[in-house]
Symmetry: C2
Subunit: 158 residues, 2 copies
DNA sequence: CCTTGATCTCAACTTAAGTTGAGATATTAA
DNA sequence: TTAATATCTCAACTTAAGTTGAGATCAAGG
């Protein structure tokens, strides 16, 4: 009797998360939840995949708020098709490409810095705070999908 | 009259940070501070570089706690030499290399996933929660230098 | 001397992403 | 039917990295 409707505990087990996290995602509107008339949440089987997606996206540094936005492209009504997921995955791959090339750039700069005799030269990236903030700080911060824009403690503004 | 001792405001200006942040770093023991007998903090000029280092390290995803540990290798007593900084930078470069290769791997997996017909196959990385958590979640989390080990809300334990 | 502007301390607040606990109700297996 | 699980809600707590504000003191220029 394998239905397409699963309990919150099942979702948690299948995704390796805590029940409280699933509740949290549901309350935040990241995953669609049904309610039994006694108040218990239940989920469509496809929600497992949605949660997996959330986890992967998180591991790439996305905030839940951003993930929610990205997932708007998934159909709320019907179960997402292979094509739906494909689009999202492709987005990730190009995101990864960007990240990789940013890291390569950072590495090149850092390498240059090692050889430059920093302590005496004013032109050094690391030594020059303006540049450092511009090239490493802000850039890399964005690179890691760091702080949100509304509230930025430690924002290295230039 | 260029001394080697600078005020907290100067450090903040030179590094593009807030005074409160410098105070915070000093109190946390990340940068060495002197005190005038009236209680005002003052810093050696080389602290500018230390702060820049902190900013770069942060942008790479390091926690202040980790940065503090890394910086233990810098001499507290004397001003760090070029060689001291070189060692730290080299560490970063190899860290970048690791990150880059992890991202490459992730990309390869994701690419494979796109073509695999996920919705029907159980072998898919994204679909299989255990694998997803292992390959993407935990791995990528560490990759981004994410959560600390003591307290892990949302730790995708397997 | 006096007024800015810079610092000081210390406590409270911010965001994100959940977790933990209390007290209550549901569901399920024996 | 009863005991053991599973869920429910809701509020309070956690960490990190600072920020903000209040009230007080310091330092420097005119």
């Amino acid at each position: 009797m394998k239905t397409n409707i699963v309990s919150i505990g099942e979702i948690a087990k299948r995704t390796g998360t805590q029940v409280s996290a699933i509740r949290f995602y549901a309350d935040k509107g990241l995953i669609p939840a049904l309610r039994s008339n006694s108040g218990h949440r239940s989920f469509h089987r496809s929600v497992i995949r949605r949660v997996s997606f959330i986890l992967v996206a998180q591991s790439l540094g996305y905030r839940l708020k951003e993930i929610k936005t990205i997932m708007q492209s998934l159909p709320e009504q019907r179960t997402p098709t292979k094509l739906d997921w494909e689009k999202l995955s492709r987005g990730f791959v190009s995101e990864l490409d960007q990240r990789i090339s940013r890291l390569e750039l950072l590495k090149k700069k850092l390498n240059g810095c090692i050889g430059c005799g920093c302590l005496s030269l004013k032109s050094c990236q690391l030594y020059n705070p303006g540049d450092a903030a511009a090239e490493f700080g802000t850039g890399a911060r964005y690179l890691l999908g760091d702080k949100p824009t509304e509230f930025q403690p430690g924002s290295n503004k230039i």
